[in-house]
Symmetry: C2
Subunit: 353 residues, 2 copies
């Protein structure tokens, strides 16, 4: 893999493609055009730590300065079927942002800051403009996070992908000092506060059901406001998490609210003997979610598992730290409680509308 | 992402799926079964550097001991349409090996040893046994390389993937001391030797054309020997590259022969003013490639671009080092020459049969 040579069923070259290649359904010229279009995005998202020039088999990132006790934290993820919805509306740049910000969330909750990112984009017949738009979005989000876009791969695979469909996969590598890793479940106590940070929308989960609901609602696809809201890119929680440090607050745990919603993600950071009580009236759930819940006829136990319902990240903190964190875009949404008090692990109380 | 919670269109949970989920075409129980099947593979492929337990949002790898001048080298890659051929014959474990060994090659040629690996597996309808087999192969290859399988993701995306099709994407992160990074193009001179290391077969490139040819040859799919040869997993070049060090030989450059073959990959490591002359009679080209070339009616300029033709990695070394490296599975295959002598960058001379 390398930035300047994107993979194809048959590798892109500068020569005229043989009849055999075309017969096998792979367009080398399109591959070259894709590479040309994305190179500017890539060049814009390097950082001083990047040693490699495009064209290598792998990307190189200097680990000097990480610190003797550094821990690398890595995650790989796709954006799921949000890409299908984006494709229907020709909105690819946001998908690149989604990819990066979802990955940032997955390592930020471990206390790690991003170092570098690699992307993989695949489809049946290569559409260079789609690839370029996705990579532009990836580069946008990487730049915003001080994260180097180290490398990527584009694959053209007729027979694997439904025509017109695209999958994007990202891998992020970050670092944290060992003594700053999260979660710290051993420090969590009943009475600790749960501070929820607002999401920007469904982020990258629950889109299979969203599309199912859209398909069942004639006219929905023409509702521009609705589509805009559904395609809003995943928020980056890097600034907020960095802000905790700067406010002198050390969370005991952070939960990224992804697939499984608050119900399944919050328990991942709690010790086995503790649960959580979430007050559903404690934050403004965006109208979008009310619309989706009504369309789907979901009850709370389903809705708060499929979608984030307006909360993209939950911080578990000392109750005394909660007020310092609550503010624009964040709310105290609940409390850590003993497991005996929690029906299952997370109890939802009250009403969100 | 986390090893124990694989992504789905709707996240896998332990509760009964709502009717809405099933209606959207996502099977949560299958997801849970996939996780159970693969957990043993994952547990077998940890290393002492891995800090995280399955279930986290990201995987954690201790960077202690890397060295103050370490450079991280990373690559992301798929296996291309070899997965389609493997799927037709129910041969998934080798695909996991392919994924890892291709990535190992991409960083080994930069002088890096593997640290950790993450995988992504996606398909239309989740088949837990397929996922488990792929991950078993990934774990096999990681163990063999002393590489930690740090995390992964499984995505179930009806509407994106052709039913029955599977895509697998791997990301590898390795490390090298800064003064051991490759290539070192500034050290390469006319007269330097090219040592080719044998491949185990087509590895992971050229399979779109291979499938096209198979489709055009009735009875080929029933030729077990042929299918076995085509599905032979990508060789790991880690032992060979490590062996260079142990023999006290420092290559000037290493080229991983992937998409684009010898013709396009060798120039990637040569300085602009130099080319290469490759003697086509210098190594035994496996019969498999003769069969494929004849089927496709390819001339040498096409064959040596689509397929590796029996050479999976080329080392550029001092001529005086060449004999020490040539041996079982490796041959001196050519010489570095001035660009004026090279028609294009790589000149193929002689005949391979």
């Amino acid at each position: 893999m390398s930035r300047s040579r994107r993979r194809h069923g048959v590798q892109a070259t500068a020569t005229q493609p043989a009849d055999a290649y075309r017969a096998a359904g792979v367009d080398i010229d399109a591959g070259n055009r894709a590479v040309a279009l994305l190179s500017q995005s890539v060049a814009s998202a390097g950082t001083p730590h990047v040693l490699s020039a495009p064209g290598g088999f792998g990307g190189m990132y200097s680990a000097a300065g990480l610190g003797a006790d550094a821990v690398l934290v890595a995650s790989t993820d796709g954006v799921g079927t949000k890409a299908v919805l984006a494709g229907r509306h020709g909105r690819w740049r946001g998908i690149g942002v989604d990819l990066v910000n979802h990955c940032i969330g997955d390592i930020a909750v471990h206390g790690a800051r991003p170092l570098f990112f690699l992307d993989y984009i695949a489809m049946a017949a290569l559409e260079p403009e789609v690839v370029a738009e996705v990579v532009a979005g990836v580069a946008d989000a990487c730049r915003a996070a001080g994260c180097a876009l180290l490398g990527g791969e584009t694959a053209e695979m007729p027979g694997t992908y439904v025509p017109g469909a695209v999958d994007v996969v990202g891998t992020i590598v970050g670092a944290a000092p060992k003594d700053r890793l999260l979660p710290r479940p051993e420090t969590i106590r009943p009475g600790d506060a749960l501070v929820g940070l607002a999401s920007s929308g469904p982020h990258t989960n629950g889109y299979s059901l969203i599309r199912h609901l859209l398909d069942g609602s004639p006219g929905a696809a023409a509702d521009t406001g609705l589509i805009d809201a559904l395609l809003e890119p995943h928020r980056s929680y890097l600034p907020a998490v960095t802000g905790f440090s700067e406010a002198g607050i050390r969370p005991k745990a952070l939960a990224h609210i992804t697939g499984g919603g608050i119900l399944d993600n919050l328990p991942r950071v709690l010790p086995a003997h503790l649960g959580a009580r979430v007050d559903l009236g404690a934050w403004p759930v965006p109208q979008l979610f009310a619309t989706l819940v009504d369309w789907g006829g979901l009850d709370d136990s389903e809705a708060f598992r499929v979608w984030n319902m307006g909360i993209g990240l939950v911080a578990v903190v000392e109750a005394s730290d909660a007020d310092a964190l609550a503010g624009q875009g964040s709310s105290v949404i609940g409390t850590v409680i003993d497991i005996a008090d929690a029906g299952g692990r997370v109890t939802l109380e009250g009403s969100w509308r």
